[in-house]
Subunit: 677 residues, 2 copies
């Protein structure tokens, strides 16, 4: 995180400093660029190279001060709580001006990712709702916001329910609401850049069922009434070194191009920035916690790529790295390029579940024969190569040291009383940031004690921060982005003496965790097939948890990555060697405590079964930190389960121990002694 140490001295001074550094860019253009940088989260990379590759300390300081000034202004845009009512009425007036009866305001951006840049926080700007998923439908006289089970309480604090009516998605889907509510003859607008093709077709059906119609708009009416809307983010794009990527971008492009030839497809449209980052071995920082360079791309069957990205955010050397096979184009030309692509009815691949309907509209306008299919990067990206898997192992060894140091510190500090959730999260962050390869946390740390631990997606804030008490459980779910790998680990720790119920529940969760960790399964098995193993011991006691057992994880990319996952949803994607997924069963008692045990695992061949008749796979646990022995009810474990736990603890001790100081080492020795010892 780069903080401004000085205050901004003014444009004249900046102009002078720039000239001195040999930069000829006009100061207005520099201001625009810095506004883009300010619209991205704080990042690790030095962004000032985008302005002045050879800036001295004074100039860097001035640039950072300018950025800080803009950031402060942006922060004021999102007060905690309901958005000012005039925003909604301004939008409604704008709709009337455009002869629209309503407009769909999703939380998504053009790339349908989990994190969006500030510029795309239209839902929050209009309503105040800051959740990571949701959609508002604004009619001229009325507005509703649809939220999922995680946000039923939060939404009441964040929106003005006099003007915006919250609707739980469990009660009604937005399309059903539209079908029932839209007036006959009414027009419902949407931004084709913000909704997927499949989403639009559901809204269209609903609007037509109501006797109305769905209308695409060319420019977003929210943007029209949001005067100080932040710029598109311009975090520096950097090269992701082949020593981490394990394969050159040139080779990846060639392989994928050849696959398109095989499928008789002329080109594939890539709209997911993590696909583009993977394919081109680049990383960015446009959204929090995920090194994404927001961009679009077209991959052609000859392996060449058109990359639609703001050239200003390319750090020195990136253009050379990309090479001749990658043409850099301004994002505004993406639509035209899609139209041109379809000329002559060429077959073009696009993914209706992730690509904006805009992509399909423009392809169709150009005459393309659209082939609906999965993003061709998804599968090779998810099956990590040996270098990436080795990198992940190394990242987990170092992450394990940081987490174990934290656990030792916590074991010492917490029982004394007074430790808060925020302090604990900050200490864990500090241990992690001692590593040279760390670039960011991989998501906002979930640090929840007692009842807060039972909130699955808890995000600690000044308002909710608790002191961690004796007799409570503390749940910490955290991870980091290292150049060589992305981590994600959850540990649940008893502070003082846990209750028998807590031990029973923890042990059932542990049994599920071990069942996944030790499962062997034939090639072709899906994560959906494994999911039940994680729940069986809970089910037998009438318990369960309401989230997936595991999500895919990227290689210094998204901590939530598809298509692999372990979930009861009936996926058809088989687990393949090199895929990384989390193994994180849990149990949550509302108002009391939460339990989750999470390690990342990677799919590897299993060659050690004599007389095996099938090609077997298994999951190698990569995460290395002790599991709280005080919470294990030994009588519930089988001999095999005890053996797994003891062997895991020996591995943690042997791998992580040598990097600890003596006190932490002693703590670890005790924390990893045999479970029956």
């Amino acid at each position: 995180m780069v903080k401004a140490e000085t205050s901004y001295a003014g444009d004249t001074q900046l102009e002078e400093a720039l000239r001195a550094a040999g930069v000829t860019t006009p100061v207005d253009a520099v201001r625009e660029l810095v506004a883009g940088v300010a619209a991205a989260p704080d990042g690790y990379e030095d962004w000032t190279v985008l302005v002045a590759p050879k800036a001295d300390a004074a100039l860097r300081s001035q640039l950072n001060a300018l950025r800080a000034e803009i950031v402060v202004a942006t922060d004021g845009m999102f007060p905690y709580g309901p958005a000012p009512a005039e925003r909604l009425s301004a939008l409604q007036a704008e709709l009337t001006r455009r002869a629209l009866d309503g407009f769909i305001v999703p939380r998504t951006d053009e790339h349908q990712g989990e994190y969006v840049p500030t510029r795309a926080e239209r839902l929050r700007w209009v309503t105040g709702f800051s959740g990571s998923a949701g959609v508002a439908i604004v009619l001229t006289e009325r507005a509703v916001v649809f939220i999922d089970g995680r946000y039923t309480l939060q939404v009441l604090d964040e929106v003005d329910t006099d003007h915006v009516e919250p609707v739980p998605l469990a009660d009604k889907s937005p399309w059903d609401w539209v079908a029932e509510t839209l007036a006959k003859g009414a027009t419902l607008g949407y931004d084709p850049l913000l909704l997927t093709e499949s989403s639009v077709s559901r809204y269209r059906k609903a609007a037509e069922k109501a006797g109305g119609s769905l209308v695409a708009v060319d420019d977003n009416p929210v943007d029209a009434v949001w005067p100080d809307q932040p710029a598109a983010p311009l975090a520096p794009v950097v090269v992701h070194d082949e020593i981490y990527a394990g394969d050159s971008a040139v080779d990846k492009r060639a392989t994928l191009g050849a696959a398109l030839v095989e499928e008789n497809v002329a080109a594939a449209v890539l709209t997911m920035p993590d696909s583009i980052a993977w394919l081109l071995n680049i990383r960015g920082g446009d959204v929090p916690h995920t090194p994404l360079p927001l961009s679009f791309a077209i991959l052609r069957d000859d392996g060449s790529v058109d990359l639609f990205i703001d050239q200003r955010k390319l750090s020195p050397g990136v253009t050379e790295h990309l090479g001749n096979g990658v043409a850099i184009q301004p994002p505004k030309d993406f639509g035209q390029a899609l139209e041109a692509l379809g000329k002559g009815g060429r077959r073009v691949l696009a993914d209706p579940t992730s690509a904006a309907s805009f992509v399909f509209d423009r392809l169709r306008a150009g005459g393309a024969e659209i082939v609906n299919g999965t993003d061709p990067c998804a599968m090779p990206k998810s099956c990590k190569n040996d270098v990436e898997v080795d990198g992940a192992r190394a990242a987990h060894r170092r992450d394990g040291v940081a987490v174990t140091r934290f656990l030792a510190w916590f074991a010492e500090r917490a029982p004394a009383g007074g430790l808060t959730e925020i302090e604990a999260a900050e200490q864990l962050r500090a241990f992690r940031f001692e590593d040279d390869l760390i670039r960011d946390l991989s998501f906002r740390t979930i640090s929840g004690s007692g009842p807060n631990g039972a909130i699955v997606h808890y995000s600690v804030s000044e308002e909710t921060n608790r002191k961690i008490g004796l007799g409570e459980l503390y749940l910490v779910d955290s991870g980091a982005q290292y150049l060589d790998g992305t981590t994600d680990i959850t540990r649940t720790i008893a502070v003082g003496e846990p209750s028998p119920e807590m031990r029973d529940r923890f042990t059932r969760v542990l049994k599920g965790h071990i069942a996944i960790a030790t499962a062997r399964f034939p090639q072709g098995t899906t994560g959906a097939q494994l999911d039940t193993l994680a729940r069986h011991a809970l089910w037998q006691a009438g318990l369960d948890f309401d989230h997936g057992t595991g999500h895919g994880v990227g290689s210094y990319l998204s901590v939530h990555e598809g298509p692999q996952r372990i979930s009861k949803a009936g996926d058809t994607v088989a687990l393949k060697p090199g895929m990384i997924v989390s193994n994180e069963p849990g149990y949550y008692k509302t108002g009391a405590y939460g339990i989750r045990i999470e390690n990342l695992v990677t799919v590897v061949p299993c060659d050690d079964v004599a007389d095996s008749e099938r090609t077997l796979l298994q999951l190698e646990t990569m995460t290395l930190a002790p599991i709280d022995r005080a919470l294990v009810e030994v009588s519930l474990l089988t001999d095999d389960e005890m053996a797994w736990l003891d062997a895991y603890h020996i591995r943690v001790r042997e791998t992580v121990g040598p990097s600890l100081d003596t006190a932490a080492q002693e703590w670890l020795d005790a924390a990893t002694r045999p479970i029956t010892g």
Copy 2:
């Protein structure tokens, strides 16, 4: 089974006898009716009531003799082995006459069921292939038959490979073959009554990809060249008593009609005879082993039904049972009725995965707005009411007695040597047929010893019949149709001393079986989620089985019923109370032996878990017969697994024991003693 004891005396004598019995039907019409009866399998019901409700023994005997004469003629139509080559060439000549370049000959009939009447065995008549699934594509110069893994060997014995080329479905789908093989401009014909809507659309795409076209024919060209094609079957339709059905047909119609109103659908098209049988509380006998009255129906939103069925097959009293709400129509009027149904653009429900494309064609022709959805009978039919579940329990108790008697007999007889698979199956059948409520076996008994046991869908014949040897495993999978329930059970028995490997494999299969039998799971859980529990112990040793863990079972209906099942295919149908499914993990060692342990289970609430936080369900095992203790490797079982096996055996002993003779009882006592005893 009704056998003719006399030979047919001639039409004149028959005419006289009919007149004496007060029957005025002309003898030609009687002959036609008997031909229909002869086209159905041997059945339990007295079909002669269809001709002469008050026939005396002499007349019944004459009628049976006439039927027997026709049956013999039909049997000659299907010699074992390749069909006479002139059938294929006659069909090819017919195609040329009709200016078709090819024709699709599926194994299915108009109802897409598992069993088809003789008349519909077009695939077998043309090629000789008698498998239960498959499709031929006959071009004017060439023919191929697509078969699945079960039939790769059998097809070589049954088709003339000089003229018909077998293609494993694993290598190529029929649509891919069409896309690659059909000539540009060529026309490929199909019978819209025999292919589903979804199947037709795949063939159409394939034909168009090849530059050809897919053409519906009005009458099937195979029928045109099959001079002695059997009639449509006319097995007697009888009332299924409410003491077994548990609910009146009037109530069922009213409930389903109301559900259509709810969905704003004017009518639903029913093409599955088991749905119609369930809805109207009737049963028939048109196909083997399943009491189906082949027919179509239209259910309207007022609960009334148009039943398209040959009136001649209705036994006395059925029309009265059906009542005013059910209009009986000739099958030939079905198409017109579909067209009429759509008038005014009414919304009509049809199931694209089970209804013939003919249904959609005619609905569209009439202007209907087609609502694609599941057959509305499917879900209520699968969730048996209390009377049906109690009936199934009772049927299983009696079936358990028959099976246990067989097992005791087998234990005595088999080790002496010389016993054949056919003899064993016949003895089992004989024990079952001592019951008053039995009507049929529920499928052809699988009676396989040694290597034959490893053939999952083994069907014993004179050619494959083996003597059951010492040191072998014997697998018997069988079931019966009782008025109060359908059964299906598999037991695997060691003859003499089993090998350690057999015991290891059997015990792993048993562990899977017990995991399903003891699973508790939250409401909403699908069979797909449970499937893994049945495989886990096998996977850990590198083993698996290549079939589903469980199929749905009807109530005196199909032994294979949807939508419920336990399968790794990612189903989204939740298991609901009253559903009956099989629990049948297995293991197969090709060329050596097969193992399968199958009980039927029904989904029931689970209320005995203290502090349960979820609405729990579990599976009640209904099948009652001992599991071979000699094959259990006790060291592989957990204490809980041993407890389950012992408790199950006590239940078998207490329930079945009292109905056995002393010798069988003694055997059962030994066979059900504690596993560690």
